[in-house]
């Protein structure tokens, strides 16, 4: 990635860039490099913890990083503060319903975050046909696989998982079959 960033910059050295564009790029860069997660703007830390518990079962951490390590919750917080601000009510209502379902399934439980992983999976199975789950799944995926400048996909964990490389240039052969000797 750093090499590619440089070559793209070299390319655009020919093009005068506005101060605003440079500032936006610097901001994205700083966030990508931030050692500590950026503060939440829309979600309370309690809400964030509960939502993160769900996203961490949508994309679990196993032998590779999951939603938690990718910073998906920060992507969601920023989405709800900006381009998906009209979806805040759906989140509030959706989480209320999900907490109610949790209490039905596990009457003595305190929170989604405090459930055992197997219980969290049972809870997700109970809600995964709802409109709210679809939205949460979409946001989790965008946060995990989208451009890191939106606060998720930290250290490019989403792209590394699937073998995607964001490069300025590739050369053939691109894959296994076009590299085979031609018949």
């Amino acid at each position: 990635m750093p090499d590619e960033l440089i070559s793209r910059r070299q390319w655009f050295a020919l093009v005068p860039m506005s101060a605003a564009v440079l500032a936006a790029q610097q901001h994205a860069h700083d966030i990508m490099r931030a050692a500590k997660p950026a503060a939440l703007t829309v979600l309370s830390s309690e809400e964030a913890q509960e939502i993160e518990a769900i996203t961490s079962q949508i994309i679990p951490t196993d032998d590779s990083p999951g939603a938690r390590e990718a910073g998906v919750i920060h992507f969601i917080d920023r989405a709800l503060a900006t381009f998906d601000s009209d979806k805040r009510a759906l989140y509030t209502e959706g989480m209320k319903q999900t907490e109610a379902t949790r209490l039905e399934l596990f009457p003595n439980s305190k929170s989604i975050a405090a459930l055992q992983p197997a219980e969290q999976i049972r809870l997700l199975e109970a809600i995964d046909k709802t409109e709210f789950f679809d939205l949460l799944r979409t946001h989790t995926i965008l946060g995990f696989f989208g451009n890191p400048s939106y606060g998720g996909n930290r250290d490019l964990v989403g792209w590394k998982l699937i073998g995607f490389e964001d490069r300025f240039q590739f050369s053939p052969p691109f894959g296994y079959y076009d590299a085979e000797p031609r018949q």
Partner: protein, 549 residues
């Protein structure tokens, strides 16, 4: 860049700086005329074309957005139209229009495309018609477009293609794994694969660099100007003449006429939502198959109470869109389809409608990959795969580099009941009536898509895909990007909106040049829309010189 005052009467006002509008601007300004081009979207540059899937596919940075430009949809006029969450029609919305973000497939029509009614007769429920022009009329302009814009391909490789006066100016782009797999399988089935003709440079050409295979073509702009959009080609040429002004962020709301029924100019909202009237001697509407009829319908006056150029009521009717289902295959080894252009091989073996099928329809099939990382994780797995959790994650990780798509590009019959109209209730962000779409496929369209899907599956079987699955959504792949037929071209003013040179039958100094002119559906329309624009510009410049507009 030259700037005109709105009060200055320019020779031509072009509305829409897209695939056709860019060509009209360049051709007419080069011919010595003054031109103002109004574009509703922004003037983006190469530095804006980042590899940002969220910005370009979710936030619509280069296309219509449902919050700004809502659409309502119904299947027939008998139903109420419902406000949509998902786009049905999508169009480019910046200088360069759809030619900036398109996949860059660049197929000419066949000679036979221009005489489908004569060859196949009427189809019940459809308004199938011959074009008022022939392939021979358009061929010089196909050639001109390929040369001036820069198209890569191999003449003669498609044994079914019609004659051409010159080969492609550039050789085909390097074949990808999907192309190799597709080529072997189709040859094994006795079919005739050929390198997909693409409006992307395989080699440096006329001061522009070759494709670097970054993989961000479809729904993205090209950051190195290797995609032959009008933004990268003719629009800079138009600006260099010193006679053309491209005016972005200018959303036209009405075309004005005088008491003689001649266009006098257009009223638009500028970037600050101020109304401006630009005066012009003639107007060329290149706003695409959805926005062109909408603007005509919004341009009602006492002389044209049904909307401009709409005395026969046909403006907005006969809407045709891209048809075709998807089939997917999973392969043993990595294809890495995220690299380079979307598609490198296609077939035309089923292109010409076959009377033996008992329905009307045909089309091409290509091998491609239409996914980026997030869209793949959202919807790229087989239908029976889990949707979340550890098993899902492992499948996304394994399949992303091993999946390809076979997509059919099928005919769509023109039907009067399929239309663009003004929604009586819903308004857009400018307070103008929202686009109301009435659309359903003809039964023959569905039979044809099913037939092609069976062929797609056969090809994947011959290719020995490890797993094969399909997507047969009711209204095919959404959003539809090919918006065609809504101001159809014809000799008879009773059954068409524009004449064979794109002049409105009702208004002598008004021309519609874009997807709305098409008489039958083009499986890949951009090439034909641009050839039509070159031809129209040639004629219109001649008429203007003779003071015959």
């Amino acid at each position: 860049m030259k700037q005109f005052k709105p009060s200055e009467e320019v020779d031509f006002l072009v509305i829409g700086a897209g695939a056709a509008g860019g060509i009209m601007a360049k051709e007419l300004s080069s011919a010595g005329f003054s031109v103002v081009v109004l574009e509703q979207g922004p003037y983006l540059r190469e530095k804006d074309f980042e590899h940002d899937e969220i910005k370009f596919t979710r936030l619509d940075a280069m296309t219509n957005n449902m919050k700004r430009q809502p659409q309502t949809l119904r299947k027939s006029g008998a139903e109420p139209a419902k406000l949509q969450g998902q786009k049905f029609l999508q169009y480019g919305r910046q200088v360069g229009g759809g030619s900036v973000h398109f996949t860059a497939n660049y197929w000419r029509l066949w000679e036979s495309d221009f005489q489908q009614k004569s060859r196949h007769g009427s189809v019940a429920g459809a308004t199938l018609a011959d074009w008022p022009i022939t392939y021979a009329d358009l061929e010089p302009y196909y050639t001109k477009g390929e040369e001036e814009l820069g198209v890569s391909g191999l003449a003669g490789a498609n044994p079914f293609e019609s004659w051409r006066s010159k080969p492609y100016p550039l050789p085909p782009l390097p074949v990808k794994s999907s192309g190799v797999i597709f080529e072997r399988a189709t040859k094994q089935l006795g079919l005739h694969p050929f390198p997909a003709p693409m409006a992307i440079l395989s080699e440096p050409y006329r001061g522009r660099g070759a494709c670097l295979h970054c993989g961000f073509c479809e729904t993205f702009g090209c950051e190195v100007r290797a995609k032959s959009s009008t933004l990268a080609t003719v629009i800079p040429m138009a600006e260099k003449t010193g006679r053309c002004e491209i005016r972005p962020d200018s959303c036209t709301r009405k075309i004005e006429v005088d008491t003689n029924g001649r266009v006098t100019g257009a009223v638009y909202f500028d970037a600050n939502r101020r109304e401006v009237f630009q005066k012009a001697k003639a107007l060329i509407l290149c706003a695409n198959g959805s926005e062109t009829p909408r603007l005509l319908l919004m341009s009602k006056s006492s002389r044209f109470p049904q909307g401009l150029a709409n005395s026969n009521g046909l403006v907005g009717k006969n809407l045709m869109v891209d048809a075709g289902y998807e089939a997917f295959g999973l392969f043993e080894h990595p294809l890495n389809e995220f690299k380079s252009v979307q598609t490198t091989r296609a077939i035309h073996d089923f292109y010409e409608p076959d009377p033996k099928h008992g329905y009307y329809g045909g089309g091409g099939i290509d091998a491609r990959f239409d996914f980026y990382p997030a869209s793949f994780a959202l919807s790229g797995l087989p239908k029976d795969a889990p949707r979340w959790g550890a098993e899902w994650k492992a499948m996304v990780a394994r399949n992303f580099t091993r999946t390809l798509t076979l997509l059919a590009h099928a005919t769509c019959l023109p039907q009067e009941k399929n239309s663009i109209t003004l929604d009586p209730d819903v308004k857009d962000a400018w307070g103008l009536p929202a686009t109301r779409v009435t659309f359903d496929f003809h039964p023959d369209d569905r039979s044809n898509m099913k037939f092609l899907l069976e062929r797609q599956i056969e090809i994947l079987e011959a290719a020995k895909a490890q797993k094969i699955w399909t997507d047969t959504a009711d209204l095919a792949l959404l959003p539809h990007n090919h918006l065609m037929g809504t101001c159809r071209m014809g000799n008879d003013p009773k059954t068409s909106v524009v004449d064979r040179y794109h002049r409105a039958h009702d208004v002598p100094n008004l021309f519609m040049v874009d997807g709305s002119s098409l008489v039958t559906a083009c499986c890949q329309p951009t090439c034909t829309i641009q050839a039509l624009a070159y031809r129209a510009a040639d004629h219109i410049a001649g008429e203007a010189r003779k003071a015959a507009i």
